[in-house]
Symmetry: C2
DNA sequence: AATTTGTTTATAGTAACTATAAATTCAAAA
DNA sequence: TTTTGAATTTATAGTTACTATAAACAAATT
């Protein structure tokens, strides 16, 4: 995604543009699509942004989330952030820890739920198992 | 589910039967189907089991989980335990906090993922939104 | 340039677990 | 039925991931 997409989305939600926010945006953009913890981002950018704190990274991610450019899900005791805002499954490999995006038919799931009278704001499908690569290595 | 189903499942996995484990089993059985945190269970059973600690409740839930009678998922910063081990979605209402079980076609999702070469051990669909009841009250 | 309001920083605090080791108890075997 | 050994519970300390607070600072509107 274009850098301005993140900036404009922040502006549309009345968030200010700060150097710290731009640094986080540049980080997630250059690692996109990917899955990050706040701590991971914090550790990676503190050379470039030496006064930043972990609390600020959490705040920035919350701002990005509320402006719609970042999504989250929880698993293995922590919160993961990602720039892939399309509906998809997140497959966590029990062996190597990598997280993979899996295309899933949104309509099939949501029609089911909304048909039962619920109004869905957010949906997360989290899968655990062994990934392709690890299955091959296991011989 | 029958009380012996939990007991036999523990035995099959070489877990011992203790009064504390039976108390937790009785609790989840009598609130089934439901969604519990470890703390919730701990607070509810400590009148009956006055020396029990929260660590023990966590241990017991881990034993039940590994013997296959209890499943878990994470959302809103904590781990939820449930006795419904069939594949289903968990809908969390943003308004009242209640969690509802939603029937979902497992085959449709898993065929998609396993078709891509992954071996799935576990799948969790977590939905957030406004529940039926809260939608009606909102007028 | 001045003002306002949002943001960052530093730091303290909390919630949800997890680890450790001693005391206890379960259950299989003698 | 007692003994035995491993599993479990308990008490407690520790950790991780996150949240709150308030003062210092900076962005953006005028
Ligand atoms: Mn993803
Ligand atoms: Mn459920
Ligand atoms: Zn793997
Ligand atoms: Zn509700």
């Amino acid at each position: 995604m274009d850098r301005n997409y993140y900036i404009d989305s922040l502006k549309k939600s009345n968030f200010k543009i700060t150097p710290q926010r731009l640094t986080v945006i540049d980080y997630v953009r250059s690692h996109s699509p990917g899955h990050f913890t706040a701590e991971e981002i914090f550790n990676s950018i503190k050379s470039e942004e030496p006064t930043i704190t972990l609390a600020t990274v959490y705040n920035i991610l919350k701002a990005l989330q509320s402006s719609g450019t970042v999504k989250t899900f929880e698993t293995s005791g922590s919160t993961w952030f990602e720039t892939n805002t399309d509906f998809h499954g997140n497959f966590v490999c029990s062996n190597c820890g990598k997280i993979y995006d899996i295309g899933i038919d949104e309509e099939g799931i949501l029609s089911n739920v909304e048909g039962s009278g619920y109004s869905v704001q957010e949906a997360n499908l989290i899968l655990k198992g062994i990934c392709k690569e690890c299955l091959l290595d296991r011989d």
